[in-house]
Amino acid sequence: MNPVTVEVVYRGIYQKSLAQRIGRGIVLAARKEGKVGVSFGRYGDSPERNGIPAKQFAIVADDELELQITMARYEPTIVDITIAVDDTLCKGVESWAWYGTQPINKLLHADGLLLVTSIHSPDTLLQWVHRQPYEYDIAIVKGPASLSGLWVYKDDHTDVRVLGTLSRVAPQLFGMNALEQAILQEWNDNLKVVSAKKAFDRAVTRRVRSEEGNPAPVQDYEKPKYWEMQEGIVVKAIPVGKGFRGEDEGGFQPERNPYFKKYSTRTMRPVVDFDTCVKCTLCWLQCPDSCFDVTPEHLYDANMEACCGCGVCEAVCPVEKCVTMVNETAFIDNTSQYEMWKQDPQAYKGWVQEKISQEKPVEHRSHGFRYRGQYQEEIAAMQKEEEA
């Protein structure tokens, strides 16, 4: 056979260990069937940053000669299987500031396989996954995204559930027997074998037709020639902004890198209730990405192309439920909330209610994002310290 190339697209830091485990698991299981392989992370992704899309690769071949074709590479140019371990990555991934947002299935070839961990159906995911001119298969590993910290791995068996699904839908990599041996060798855990087998039993694929998927055009980019680049490693700064929507006066909107949208980093986004906003400016001041556009009436509109979903705005907002972080899968596009509100304030109120009522309240998010009221707590603690 030809080498089989698998990419695991994951959230930087939060899913690094998960992606590495999947990569190793693929090579170790294939080894049990006498194949050889290599597992490596995309070197340029490191040092990883919270939530930034990153990639791990596993390549399996029949022998060393065949494997050599794929070696000493940063990133394969074409893959047989793309695994997205967080379904919000289906909206596109953007690892580098000069590529713009690129489709999750960019490297996937015709008849390839897109495997996603998600609680949603393929139909829902295909609203976001960019359209391709060819057919391929999609498979779902049912469940929420498994997000951990850098030092703590949440062993919820997502790793072996992905591997178990692969052994069913991509048997050219390895079968269940080989996987079982590999799991016992690597993790010595019978429960993990049970999880892998359950995933194997439940795995189904669905054909994605060429007319399905998000028809939005993909951002284009071109890197400059060496003599076009400024000497002395000098890069021109982006100019400061203008008024709201580029007007000469009224509000403020910073100028942004047209290729670096940042939104593919987001697993949740702020929903802003403009009717309860007290214009305290805290969200605008504290946002680490300057994603808030200041409207002429001094409201703060989180620009969804620039927001990376960190949750600081929710943490600092002093008004109850004025800013609420909502899972990114609840949204189809990056429409301006301010413009929705301007157009029909009543309908917008209903929209906000609908979105924030979906969100289960969490005291501490598992993967490092901030939480509502954190800022007040920190200020109180600092005051106490000062008094002492």
Binding site: V27, L28, V36, G37, Y43, Y74, Y226
Partner: protein, 405 residues
């Protein structure tokens, strides 16, 4: 099972990166003192060693220094008192240790280091270039490059034996391409402790060991009456190392079945009319390209250089005397050098100069900053070299491959 079969040394297979393979070599060589200071891509070896120690699989003095300078000074001193040592760095970290690197070679300390090859700042970049390790090529460091995680493990074990040999006593730096080798996990055969003990004797500095029972002074200040003689001693040691390397490889091959070609690997060179020469992981796309070119009837071969210091001059002269042209692929640069070549091309031209019938050398610079060198890039370089071979004239142009523009 018969008693003697129990004594057959065994190897186990592990899925590990080049840096993890080096950590395994440290464990197997029972290294006494290791110092670390983090810089990518070398630092993966720090993590791997820390893990081995904390899991109780390995016992060593593991010191995290406050800079690369101290990191390399500490192992130098530990080596003087008779400790087997391991150290490493990358890119500008290696440069920060430069004073310590120079004195380590001058003092004839058998320090074994890895250089996870990385582009020098600025701009900050993590990808491979060989200029970092090459900065010590004139100082008395032995310099070798490996192309797989397996070869990294094997070469490290040979490095301690070679460096600590009483006839040599020179430090060795093992160049490992950042990312491709340091960070990719592949299947590696890890020897048993028994096998390694058959191969690697304990480090014994003899009368040069700094010890209360052996009162000596190391490195007093000297004037012009002394230094050139001391330099000549280092020159002799490097010349002796050249003669000992084949013995070390032969013995390694006897026990482990690997490491049969000491100075360079020859790939499809038997009938080659055009040779490509490079070092490190660049050999992989070169081999893939050569198989494609051979399928089209082109007689192209590869020499993957392993040892840059000592440079295998006579061996390369013999291997290249019958080819019609040599294309040298440098993953390094030497701005303003003869023909604006990379280091390898300049060195090879020099090595071939004394031949009566010498092939023209074509210089290429490729893959800087970790840029992938693809099989297509190699075919382009091979075609240029083939044209030079056909013309029979030397080519003084240095070709930059894969540069936008």
């Amino acid at each position: 099972m018969k008693a003697d079969t129990l004594l057959i040394p065994q190897e186990t297979e592990a899925l590990i990166s080049g840096c993890e393979a080096i950590a395994q070599a440290c464990r197997l060589a029972d290294v006494d003192v290791i110092t670390g200071y983090p810089i990518r891509p070398y630092d993966t070896v720090m993590q791997a060693i820390a893990k081995l120690i904390s899991n109780g699989d390995f016992d060593a003095e593991y010191i995290i220094a406050e800079s690369e300078h101290s990191q390399f000074e500490i192992v130098k001193h530990a080596s003087a008192v008779g400790a087997r040592v391991f150290v490493g760095s990358s890119g500008v970290g290696w440069f920060y240790a430069m004073e310590a690197l120079a004195v380590t070679a001058g003092l004839r300390m058998p320090v074994v280091a890895i250089v996870g090859n990385r582009a020098l700042d600025d701009p900050g970049a993590f990808g491979v270039e060989h200029n970092d390790a090459m900065a010590v090529r004139d100082l008395g460091w032995m310099l070798t490059w490996v192309d797989t995680a397996q070869e990294a493990l094997d070469t490290a074990l040979m490095a301690w034996r070679l460096a600590e040999d009483r006839r040599v006593l020179l430090p060795i730096a093992i160049g490992m391409d950042g990312s491709y080798l340091t960070h990719s996990q592949v299947l590696v055969k890890v020897p048993s402790q028994e096998m390694v003990e058959q191969f690697l004797p304990p480090y014994n500095r003899g009368e040069l060991q700094l010890h209360p029972d052996n009162p000596i002074t190391i490195a007093p200040q000297v004037n012009e009456d002394w230094l050139i003689e001391i330099r000549k001693q280092s020159d002799d040691a490097m010349r002796r190392a050249k003669t000992i390397i084949p013995d070390v490889y032969a013995d390694y091959h006897r026990i482990f079945g690997r490491g049969d070609s000491p100075f360079f690997e020859e790939y499809m060179m038997e009938d080659a009319e055009v040779a490509l020469l490079g070092q490190g992981t660049i050999a992989m796309p070169i081999k893939v390209a050569i198989r494609k070119l051979r399928a089209e009837g082109q007689k192209v071969g590869l020499i993957r250089l392993k040892w840059l210091r000592p440079f295998p001059t006579a061996e390369l002269q013999a291997a290249l005397s019958n080819v019609k042209a040599v294309g040298v692929i440098d993953r390094d640069y030497s701005f303003g050098s003869p023909f604006h070549s990379g280091v390898l091309a300049t060195e090879l031209r020099s090595a071939l100069y004394s031949l009566d019938k010498r092939p023209p050398v074509v210089g290429f610079i490729a893959g800087l900053g970790g840029r992938e060198v693809t099989a297509e890039n190699v075919i382009e370089m091979s075609n240029i070299t083939t044209q030079v071979a056909a013309s029979g004239k030397s080519d003084t142009e240095t070709h930059w491959i894969g540069v936008r523009g």
